[in-house]
Amino acid sequence: ETLEPNSWEEITSYNNFYEFGTGKDDPAAYAHLLKTVPWSIKIDGMVERPGDYDFQDILSEMTIEERIYRFRCVEAWSMVIPWNGFELADLLAMAGVQEGAKYVAFETLYRPEEMPGTRYPVLEWPYREGLRLDEAMHPLTLMATGIYGKPLPNQNGAPLRLVVPWKYGFKSIKSIVRITLTDREPPASWNMAIPNEYGFYSNVNPEVNHPRWSQASERRIGGGLFAKRQPTLMFNGYEKEVAGLYQGMDLAKYF
């Protein structure tokens, strides 16, 4: 099945990026305050070559490709986004993963003077997320640097963000400044704030409802005022590719 991507306008005007405010239009309104040049990413923890990696240096080492992925927000809306980026596995190979590392932790930039939303304690800043190492190494797991062949707009997580298409959107952490390899499950912001609503895994699953709303269906953005809800797919439609990662796990327990 071919996916029809959402428009540039839709993808860049309707965002959750609470560092710029909790409204859907706040990121588009305020993210221009963010300075993304220069940008470096600290890669540390259980890696062979820890250090501060300049974003441009990383880009020159990576092959950028287009990936058209479904994007499913935990709030039960969805889009289809034509990302440009490289596999996270390639970046991790660049730093060299040490034996014994089991998880990857990510951190978003925290710079209050450029991020008006961080003046409020909506979440504990900086925003943090994490993946199990095998999830991080999966070929679908992308580090996005662009949309529609253009550099990532600030409101979408410039200059570099994670995209894990089979998980709820909040796992796909934006504007990354730090990546840490570790042997224990790293803290994740929404999980820390409300653990019964947002699990560490947060795989898209129509059978496991959010305590406050159903996850069985979603509103596809772009259909207009009278758009019909559509059913949510297991692992957001990537079941064939990723179900093996969770074999034998109770997905209602490890939600």
Binding site: Y14, K24, Y120, V122, A193, I194, R212, R219, L225
Partner: protein, 198 residues
């Protein structure tokens, strides 16, 4: 204050009904023509919910404003209340028809999701008030009418709690609304009325 009240007196109540009736159809039109962004159903739903809460709070403020500030809005209180009910009804309709859409899921949401349950309870409490917002009912019910209409206190509180429960993370806005409601309700307590000579 006399001047303010004199100007207020010149505003006909029908004008309040006419202008107050506009937001839902205007927003529906804006949503249908793409003026409310890429997720128009949610935008209209949220705007209507917030407007309903604002109207309910304004309704609660009428008496304290008269007693504490001398501003007399009593002439418009019924219109404010009826409009608040109209906004709540539109908010509910948008949620049913454009947001959730699926009847089985609507029923499950009402029973299983506390913030929906609370919102629905608030709507249910407003229903008899809207039905008795006419002179005939006031005459017919006598002193019971006043007692019945105290249900609005609970309804507003439920509305504010409904808002607080549906946001993600720690957010200021719903807390401001809840704070206003709590203050306006506290002013009704006998102890506050004695202290402030209300």
């Amino acid at each position: 204050m006399e001047r303010v009240n004199a100007s207020l007196r010149r505003i006909p109540v029908w004008l309040i009904y006419m202008t107050g009736a506009l937001p839902p159809p205007v927003w529906l039109w804006m949503g249908a023509t793409g003026l409310l962004g890429v997720d128009p159903a949610k935008a209209i739903e949220h705007r209507l919910g917030e407007l309903a809460l604002q109207a309910l709070i304004l309704g609660l403020a009428v008496t304290p404003m008269r007693r504490l500030l001398g501003v007399n809005l009593i002439k418009f209180r019924r219109a404010i209340g009826v409009l608040a009910f109209y906004y709540v009804s539109c908010h509910l309709l948008i949620w049913l028809v454009l947001d959730v859409q699926i009847p089985a899921q609507i029923w499950a949401d009402i029973l299983k999701r506390p913030y929906i349950t609370i919102g629905m309870a608030g709507f249910a409490l407003l229903l008899p008030l809207a039905l008795t917002s006419n002179n005939w009912s006031v005459r017919r019910l006598g002193p019971a009418w006043r007692q019945l209409h105290r249900l609005v206190y609970a309804a507003v509180l439920l509305g504010a709690v409904h808002f607080l429960m549906l946001v993600k993370g720690f957010q200021i806005e719903p807390l401001v609304y809840l704070g206003l409601v709590v203050i306006l309700l506290a002013l009704r307590l006998p102890v506050a009325r004695r202290r402030l000579a209300l």
